[in-house]
Symmetry: C2
DNA sequence: CTGCATCCCGGGCGATACTG
DNA sequence: CAGTATCGCCCGGGATGCAG
């Protein structure tokens, strides 16, 4: 590593290197737009299908179904069917799902802390590179 | 990571609720498959275009270009062109980019800690739901 | 080596309609 | 209310070719 520079200090140096450790599998999940929103909503408590859909404005019924299925498959949430009419299905975070909320929290914190800087950087870049088509 | 209290009860309660805070903008970036890998690679030091491409096996030249452009636009990396022949372009993390590596580190840690449990959960689920088509 | 333009395909995702 | 099935569009992104 390039030494002789100012206090570079401690790089996190992601353990797994640039290859594919377990990060990919996790990113495919939490990197997913809807998954994160569902987890965030469930972090507040048990929710029914319709409740989730109403709490997450843009989501289609199809995507919500797929999303909760995948989260359930990964062991991040539980799906409880109550045999009644009309049907009722409750979704709830598992212990692992709860632990994930802390990661999401860290994400939200970092976002809150840097979103302004990012927004300004984008403005400057767009101004310096008109019609680049990058987004 | 602040006082994590013991488990249960204390939900992180992501500040922004289920709507769209700055999380989305950040997720669109770090949630991106290639962006994370580029950041991880650059966390180890300055890299040239070809170096990055070689360090990230599956990436196409097109996607690498798009990825570094977007990261540059967001102010996460710098792009330095050295007027020489053959051309040389160096990419390096900015201060903000470095701070992001800590988030990625947290991500990698969580992944390492739970990937086994997730893998097992998936196996169990797939076994209980044959031919579901979910992934 | 670095980077842009073009072509083109697969699949992700929304919209809609139907069942229990 | 909860969920499945089907259709169709759009675009992400790989492959290739060309330029500086």
């Amino acid at each position: 590593m390039s030494a002789g520079h100012t206090a570079v200090t401690t790089e996190p140096v992601v353990t797994c290197g640039g290859e594919d450790c377990g990060i990919r599998g996790v990113l495919d999940r939490i990197g997913d737009k809807w998954s994160v929103l569902v987890v965030v909503e469930l972090a507040q408590g048990v929710r029914r299908f319709r409740q989730l859909q109403r709490a997450i404005p843009g989501i289609s019924q199809r995507m919500l179904t797929l999303t909760v299925r995948r989260l359930e498959r990964d062991g991040l949430i539980t799906r409880t069917v109550h045999p009644m009419v009309p049907p009722q299905v409750d979704y709830e975070l598992t212990a692992m799902g709860h632990s994930l909320t802390y990661l999401v929290k860290a994400l939200a914190d970092w976002s809150a802390e840097h979103q302004d800087a990012i927004a300004r950087a984008r403005e400057r870049w767009d101004e310096a590179n008109p019609g680049s088509g990058i987004h």
